[in-house]
Structures are given as C-alpha cells and as structure tokens.
C-alpha cells in the first residue's frame, strides 16, 4: 500500500466525528461524505487498472495535478462504487479539455457547473436513472475533485453570486432507447456502442410545460423560454444551450415529421431578438449587442448546431427542461474506458 503515497488523518470512529472533522478542514461540499480508506481507494484503482500516480488532468484554478489516487479518494467520499470510477475519470478528462474552460467555470460570478450527460451501454451497466446512486455520486465526485484539487472554495475562489444546486451534482444518462433521432454521442461522431460522457457548462434548469398536440406550438413555447437575453450565450455569442426533451415530446416531434436538425433550426430562428427590444443603455460589461444597430438581430448562440437536444425523463409529453449555457464554454466529450473483464 505504500505506493499510494497517502496522507492520513486519524479521528474517532464515529460517523459524526469523521464528518465534522472533514467539514472543518474544508474537504466536503457541506454534505456528509464517506471517509476514504486504503482499502476502498485500492478497490477503485484496481477496477480501472490505473497506476496510483497517473495524472488524469490539471485542475484549475490551483492548477494541481489530479492523480488517480486523489480521484479515487474523492470518488469514495462522494459515495461512488468502483464501477462508477471509469465515468468519473472520463468526466474529468472532458471538463479539463481546453474548450470547456474549467478555469472560468470554477471562478466566475455565474451560477455554472459541469452538467454530465452519459451515453452508451454503461448507463445500463451502472443502473442509471432518477434517484439512482450512479447519477448522484458520479456528478458529486467530479465536483468534490474540483473543490479539493482545484481549490474552488465557494465564496472565496468560486465567486458564483448565487451558486447553483448543480454544484453538488448534475449527471444523467440519455434515454437513447426512447430517442427517435440520433443520441447525443452518435451526433458527435461516436459509435452507438461506445460509452461516452459529454460535459456542458450549464446554468441550472428552466422548466417549460408545453402541453400541446401540435409540435410547432411546443417548439414556439420552448423558443420563448429560451429567448432570454440575460442568458450568457446572448451576451458572449457562444456556448451550447442544452434541451432535455421528454420521450413523449420526442416521439411526437418525430411522428409529425420533425428531425432534430429542423427543431434546432426553428429554435435558433425563433430565439433571435431585435436589438431595439433590449434597453439602449450600454451594459457595464462587454456584450455582443452593445454596438448593434436597432434592427440587428441578437442570436441565442453562434450557430444552429451549437444547440444540443437530448432525451431523458419521464414519458409524459408536457415538461421540457432547458439548461442555459455559461457561454464562455464549449461542450466536451470523452470516452468511458471500461475494464476488459
């Protein structure tokens, strides 16, 4: 066990004492954690067959190297089983890709956190779904890593003015089997048989109750909810707005002849805003529209395909979830490498 190069703290064997000690030292997100031991960390590392010192990524703003051992410790603390660890590793790879701009996400005043969408066979292997341990703990492990390795202490380094519940955990699997179109990972060039995690820099959830039979009306209502020029994508002209359609709506869209591409195109067009709709006063931060002529249109994001649509949730065809983007970020994907046996 000496090769793990572990630092240990001894406390009274009492759940409350352990949690209190870890909380006091700033090791937690405020919720109870499972204390990591040599045995449980070794189980994680053995499952993925990684050397303990392998560096999985550099975590800003402290720019600390994240070793497999440190990732395993945080994953145990979050409540992960060893089978979840490959997803955590892939998620770390996704969020540390330059285009994701983790430095900005860790330190901005915006309420933004990694939103992790899982595709492929791993979803079934891990029994992903609402209220499931995999969903809750994989997302939490990533956020504990961002805290404990990246050093984004809320209120001090993480300057998010209101925070966001997704800073605890935000991870779900796409319901590919209920998606009449290509699932997210196939759309981004991966084989359907691959297990992939996609990270978005998301800013919470906006619910839209679109109880219509005509899908054009549903698209209209959805676009209306997305057409909020206070969202960062309007300000900076970039980012990946994410729509989570329920399976019922997705099926009805397809039955009425809508492709995913057409839905994106309609949303991109209907979310355009005329500059004259926005107050004339210059904002005190730079924004895309500050110098626009009154008739110039402001876009939700840079281009149609920057909008992403996934299918998840219960079957009823009326609730839609919209996850606005931080804007200074691009989605990032990583393959989940599962053990051979």
């Amino acid at each position: 066990m000496s090769d793990l190069k572990l630092r240990k703290i001894e406390v009274l064997y009492d759940f409350r004492a352990v949690f209190t000690d870890m909380y006091r030292r700033g090791f937690t997100d405020g919720l109870p954690v499972i204390p990591a031991t040599e045995t449980t960390v070794r189980e994680m590392l053995d499952y993925v067959e990684l050397p303990p010192d392998e560096v999985l990524g550099i975590i800003p703003p402290d720019d600390e190297p994240l070793t497999a051992t440190q990732a395993a410790i945080n994953s145990v603390m979050a409540g992960c089983l060893p089978e979840y660890f490959p997803v955590v590793i892939a998620a770390v790879k996704a969020v540390t890709a330059p285009e994701f701009n983790l430095l900005g996400i860790q330190t901005t005043t915006n309420p933004v956190a990694p939103v992790l969408v899982v595709n492929g066979p791993v979803r079934e292997l891990l029994d992903m779904g609402p209220g499931r341990r995999a969903n809750a703990t994989i997302g939490r492990a990533v956020n504990l890593i961002l805290l404990n390795i990246g050093g984004n202490t809320p209120g001090e380094v993480d300057k998010s003015i209101h925070g966001m519940p997704g800073k605890f955990t935000f991870c779900f699997g796409e319901l590919e089997e209920e998606n009449p179109w290509e699932p997210l990972h196939v759309e981004h060039g991966f084989g359907r048989e691959k297990s992939i995690v996609t990270a978005f820099g998301g800013q919470g959830t906006q619910n839209i109750i679109a109880a219509y039979h005509d899908m054009d009306n549903v698209a209209h209502m959805l676009a209306d909810a997305m057409r909020c020029y206070g969202n960062n994508t309007y300000h900076v002209g970039h980012g990946n707005p994410l729509i989570v359609l329920n399976p019922g709506h997705a099926r009805l869209f397809a039955e009425q002849g809508w492709s995913k591409k057409r839905l994106k195109e309609v949303l991109f067009e209907r979310t355009k805003l005329r500059r004259s709709y926005i107050p004339d006063e210059r904002m005190f931060l730079e924004t895309t529209w500050n110098d626009y002529a009154p008739d110039k249109m402001c876009d939700l994001c840079a281009k149609v395909d920057d909008i992403n649509i996934v299918v998840a949730g219960g079957p009823e065809a009326y609730h839609i979830c919209y996850i606005p983007s931080f804007g200074h970020t691009a989605l990032s994907t990583a393959e989940i490498i599962l053990p051979k046996n």
């Binding site: 630092r7 240990k8 800003p60 402290d62 190297p65 440190q70 915006n110 390795i149 904002m283 005190f284």
Partner: protein
C-alpha cells in the same frame, strides 16, 4: 476526551499535493516613475474606474505610465500576453470593478 479503549479510524486526505509553488511578486517599492499596468477583462465599469485610478496614480503618486491591457472575459488570457505585460510593466493590477 479520547481514551485508549475508543476505536479510531484513519481517513485519507482528498486535497492535492500543492506541488506548484506560489510565486510571490516582489514589491515595487515607491510608485514614482514606475509603469503600473491595468488588465481589463471586459468590464466597462473598470474602464471608468481605471481611468480615475490612472489620474490618481499619475497625479498623486508620480507613476510614469499606466497602460491598459484588454483580456477576454471569463477565460485565461494568452500566456504570451501575460509575458508581454510582465516585460513592459513594473506591476500589474487585474481590474474587475464588478
């Protein structure tokens, strides 16, 4: 009070190894005749405050030059630009004013 009969547990520390050494910026001493840069990441409010501070630095403290460098908001600036700022300035202040 912990007694010898109480059971203890060792847990593993989850933080990084803090391998990266923090570089302390040497103090500039007197401001007179110095070049003090402002780095503005897109807040027009800082453009205003920075202008006021520039006047104060020059008039009250004899600062020779206060160049303003623009960097993109919410992303890390190009390291080459940071090197340039370091080469051209005695000290630099990142401005937000938000």
């Amino acid at each position: 009070m912990v007694t010898s009969t109480m059971q203890m547990i060792e847990y593993l520390v989850p933080t990084g190894l803090k391998a990266k050494k923090k570089v302390l910026v040497p103090p500039v001493g007197t401001l007179k005749g110095k070049r003090i840069a402002f780095v503005n990441n897109g807040w027009t409010s800082f453009t205003k405050i920075g202008g006021y501070l520039t006047s104060e630095l020059k008039d009250r403290y004899g600062v020779a030059n206060v160049p303003m460098y623009q960097i993109p908001p919410s992303v890390a600036p190009d390291p080459k630009l940071l090197d340039r700022i370091a080469a051209e300035s005695d000290a630099a202040v990142v401005g937000l004013a938000n």
